[in-house]
Amino acid sequence: MKATLSFLGQRAVILHRPGETTDRLVRQCVLLGFRAEARWQPLRADEDADIVLVDADEGWDGILPWTPAEKPAPLVALLASEAPGRIAWALDQGADALIAKPITASAVYPALVMATRRHAETRQFNERIRRLEERVRLRPLVHAAVRTFMAADGCGENEAYGCLRREAMQKRLTLEQAAASILASPRRQAG
């Protein structure tokens, strides 16, 4: 079961021309516990924002100081238009959820919860992909370490792989790190 989210004390930045849209968004964000700021100025890279809401109707490249891949906070697109170009812009920014304009009060909380979850999941996925890519990249090291064991101990491949795994477990290293350390060790190299 997922616990009820509380946004108490978090900071929401709303990048949109001031008006009824921002008034409604600020009201709902404050109700949810956010400190909310609305303005029609780009987000600065040094700003702390726990969630960002951006006007996808008029937003431009560069209004957000990051690329979608390194997006540090959940992003919600605010959209009245149905134009494919604007939908694509919102997607290209890495929007995690969308609120249709004109804003109805009941649309805000669901979008913010969904964006928060989506963003967290995306980060977890990205981190997992990064780790897997790292392992794939270091796969030749594992092969080399296995061959080293085979040569040193005169054993078969399965046994050598088992030795490497045991060594990794004992030293609390990943298989790849253990392989790298074995290959760097002069004794093993000499053997």
């Binding site: 509380s6 108490l8 109700l31 009060a105 909380y109």
Partner: protein, 381 residues
Amino acid sequence: MTVLRLGILFSTSGDYGALGRDCRDGAMTAIEDLRGACSVGIEPVAGDPAASSERYIELARRMIQEGGCRHVIGTVTSQARKDVIPVIEKRDAQLWYVCPYEGFEANPNVIYTGTCPNQHLLPLFEHMLPAYGRRVYLAGANYIWGWEMNRLAREVVTEAGGEIVGERCLPIGDTDVDRIVAEVAARQPDFILSNMLGPSSHAFLRAMRELGRRDPAFRPERCPVVSCDLTECELPEIGLGVADGQLAAASYFDSLDTLANRALKAQVAARFGSDRRVSSYFATSYATVRLCAEAVSRCGTDDPIKVRSALAGLMAPSPLGPLRIDPATNHANLPFLLGRISGPDFVILQSRPAAVADPYLIRRRTAVQPASAQPQLRIVS
């Protein structure tokens, strides 16, 4: 004189008709009460949607468009409220919602004078978990009220180190409670939270009475049924005495001994006879109409935007105590009362002063402490 055309939109027939009739009667009593005694002339436009979503929407539209109402007091269930809100928003009208609900809403076009979970469920469980135990059974009506109340109860109980021993929802109107009762009998919870409405709730309380007769472990003093929606208005229908000993949370009970409540009860006795009990639905609806009239009177118009700003500074006396609307959330500050059913009445066991509503529960983390600080250790040999 300022005229306030007020839509009165409660489902007074159908499965939860008793609740709607109390809401309607409360509103009409306030209107009678204010006739000639207030600078606002209230002209009610009433309609009974008979628990149908389509009728709710159609009647709300007609009240606003044809009846000239800019204010509507009404809807009983959250489903109906959510059906009506788009109609209200579209025409910039104002809905006054008087029933307890599950929270997670704060619409600028709605004034909420019913309680939300930090005003009913959380204080109720703060009392129940230490007093009765942490093994809880959840029974609900199969719609948003039952689902969300059960979800929140599960969260609270789990956080307190307790256990939900069973959970079932029945469609509104369904009285086939045998399976729920059998589960209760088998799993022996410390208490039961019932979020069922009308006939389901009545059938369940009658069945629990029978179960308690067969096995004293299920009598209300050992294993009570608690609720956040059961009031005086349903006790005659259940059968007086049948639900004696069961518990309910509310912002008001008829037995409240205050000056304002004695005045209301005298009025109700004169209008409906001395047997009539006042429920929180009745009293809240009554207080809400008076609050609305006071706000309209202060700004000299029924323009909802002006009425909302007039409300911000208002503290109106009422049978529920001084009524104030928090301008941030549009929700009323409301007291918590815990009552035990006794005949046609609730004996008030506990009361807490009016609390600010926290509809999105952003301040909940510190609200409920574990029932027991002692670890559950046993010596095993």
